[in-house]
């Protein structure tokens, strides 16, 4: 189950990296609202680096056999905060675009949040042992 949850997290991260790369490179990508157009460049450019750095640090620590509890806890907190920002405040402006990749991110995001939260708690248990 733990490995499956980690796989879900990596799959979602790859989708987000692909989407943010598309947003950064393709000017034709248009969110549904005007607010989204203004905000999307600012937040996407920072978030893509958070995802890449988070994956890199987690992979490096896992490969070295170092404890990853705090890393996963930080990434889980950031994931939940970004979710709150996107869905509860920004009224879905960042991702509600009519693009298959964007729809895939929106669809898999709740699954990712459950998976990353499970990984955070499980990792805590593993590192304590």
């Amino acid at each position: 189950m733990y490995r499956f949850a980690v796989a879900v997290c990596f799959f979602f991260a790859s989708l987000v990296i692909a989407l943010f790369t598309l947003i950064s490179l393709d000017d034709s990508f248009q969110p549904v609202t005007e607010q989204g157009t203004v905000l999307i460049q600012d937040l996407a450019s920072i978030r893509i680096w958070i995802v890449i750095l988070g994956l890199a640090i987690y992979s490096w620590k896992s490969a070295k056999g170092q404890p990853t509890t705090v890393t996963v806890a930080v990434l889980t907190s950031c994931a939940w905060i970004m979710f709150l920002e996107d869905y509860m405040v920004l009224d879905n402006v960042l991702f509600a675009a009519d693009h298959p990749l964007s729809q895939a991110v929106v669809f898999t995001r709740p699954i990712f949040l459950v998976a990353v939260t499970y990984v955070a708690f499980k990792q805590w248990e593993i590192d304590q042992v």
């Binding site: 905000l39 930080v74 907190s77 950031c78 405040v89 920004l90």
Partner: protein, 170 residues
Amino acid sequence: MTSESNNDDLVPTQEELDALIGSGPFFYLRGVRAALERRSFVFKWAWILVMTMSVLYIMGWFTGLLKPYMASAVTGLDADYQLHQLRFLLAFILIVIGTVALNFDRYVEEVFTTTAWIQLYFLMSGVGRQWRTMPDGNFDVVLIYAGNLLLILILLVILIFEERRLKSIA
């Protein structure tokens, strides 16, 4: 009669109850003052400064003093204002979690590490947004905004390092 005396035997004594409650780490409330007394002078002052800044921020927010310096004042977008409101709320939830961790003297380093990374995210995205939306000649506003967030981040980093130092000594 016999069953009554059997029931009495099963009732734990006050000493047993105290021992049970005392052995559980989550019931051991030390209080912030006691937790701070165990720590260094630097930790204590960094914590007091974080709390003072939070109080000043609340005062600035509710009196409307901060409004002209926010991104929404420049862009006029509702989303910017809402984003600030949410981050304001999240920051105070994090302060509450930090205070609870200090009260129980558990997971203090982990809680402040998570808070510091979240603060870094707020700093980078907030300053980036201010920078892009800033009108000409308003550089000092960005500087004050960045300085304020950076000071909180530095204080959090001091708290983490001091906590780590305390752990290494203990």
